[in-house]
Amino acid sequence: MPELDQSQLKVSPLGEVSKFLSAHENFKNAFISSSIPQVCKDEPCVLGVDEAGRGPVLGPMVYGIAFCPIESNKELVDLGCADSKELTEEKRDIIFANMNTKESSNSCIGWSVEVISPSVISANMLRRTKYSLNEISMDSAIGLIKRAADEGVNIAEVYVDTVGPPEKYQAKLSNIFPYYKITVAKKADSTYPIVSAASICAKVTRDHALKLWRFPEGLKLSHETYGSGYPGDPDTKRFLSENADLVFGYPNLVRFSWSTAETALNGHAYDVEFDDIDDTKQEYEGEQITKFFKGKTIKGQIKRERHQFFKRRFLGKVEF
């Protein structure tokens, strides 16, 4: 990811995650992780990958991984790691807290998440050469796996949840990590408890990051006023239509690269045009043969064009 600027935290309990999220500069990416249990370095481990907050127009997207020894699968099931979409927010918070505080869990399960800020998402998607959300996601997942491996986790099997076509993603991962047994599947979080654990970590972080968002722009808005961030949420819709700034558009909680945000700005803020968004389109630069037929006024005088020196520098006469 081009934007490497990020802050880091090693934590466990939920309270610390919240404290960290509300103190950190929320336009940067952040990295939060648990400590790594010794058994995860000694025994071969399964590692699950999932994301949260891909679709919303507000707040960060969070990528998460969780890992534990292959033998410890039962502990995940005991914790209640099942399809995270079936779980209520409250339930997820409890499981996350137990995962970090219960002796039987924190001795064998480790996790880490990357919080990808809405400004980083927008800036990447709106580059001159587009860096798509899919690429951002994959690079984040790869980064998290690499990081865990670097810190000594004995990874044997990797399970990844995906929304897109699994084959291409699986081929890419197998290429980067040839020694791991890699499985990319749709709805993996309901099939594999370890993916479900990763999903819970990502979702809990995403929910808290959005709830605890402080606006560097000085807006005093609570979570209730902007809602879940999903484009269909009536609170989110109202927030977008009521909080547009004429010049700057929105605070950086909003993903400007979402068409929802763009449409909502229409009529609520000044139109803005960036210079040469499409400067890949090269115009023919040499002299054209048709120039011999034009360039004269009706009386036959030759029209004088401004010298290249001025044209290249976009210099012209000022008229009042």
Partner: protein
Amino acid sequence: MSINLELSQSQLNDPKTNDIKLHYMPASIQGDGAANVDLFFNNYTAEENGVMRNTFRGHSLEGCKFTVPNTHKGLIFQETDTPLDENTNRVFKLAGSFDSFNYWNYDKAPSKADAFRQMWDVVSVAEAMSADISMDDIEKEMERRKKKTEDSKEKSEP
């Protein structure tokens, strides 16, 4: 029709008008009015290895400080009312002055290749164009041309 620019030395020296923080943006904002620059923009400016970074409407910007050549001064004029009658004189009042501003590029590090940078060549061209010419300079130039024509005659004659 003529245009009057109103400014005084005391205004130019007044620190209140002399310290305007400007941003040269790589986008045209189709509107005119106050902007909450401090909270929505300056707040986010980060600097690393001499390159400043920020975003505007989600687009990433890279920028640097640009200092106005010390032979020049940046001035901002404002016209309060544009007269409807074309023959009336127009009056522009000094609204502020500046010696530097932040120059931003859209997703591209600022460099000498930017048209904006090259625009400043005009300053030296204009200086050469409008510099005073003394009698001495004219004689020198005449001498130079005479020599040039003699040289070319010598080359073609033998």
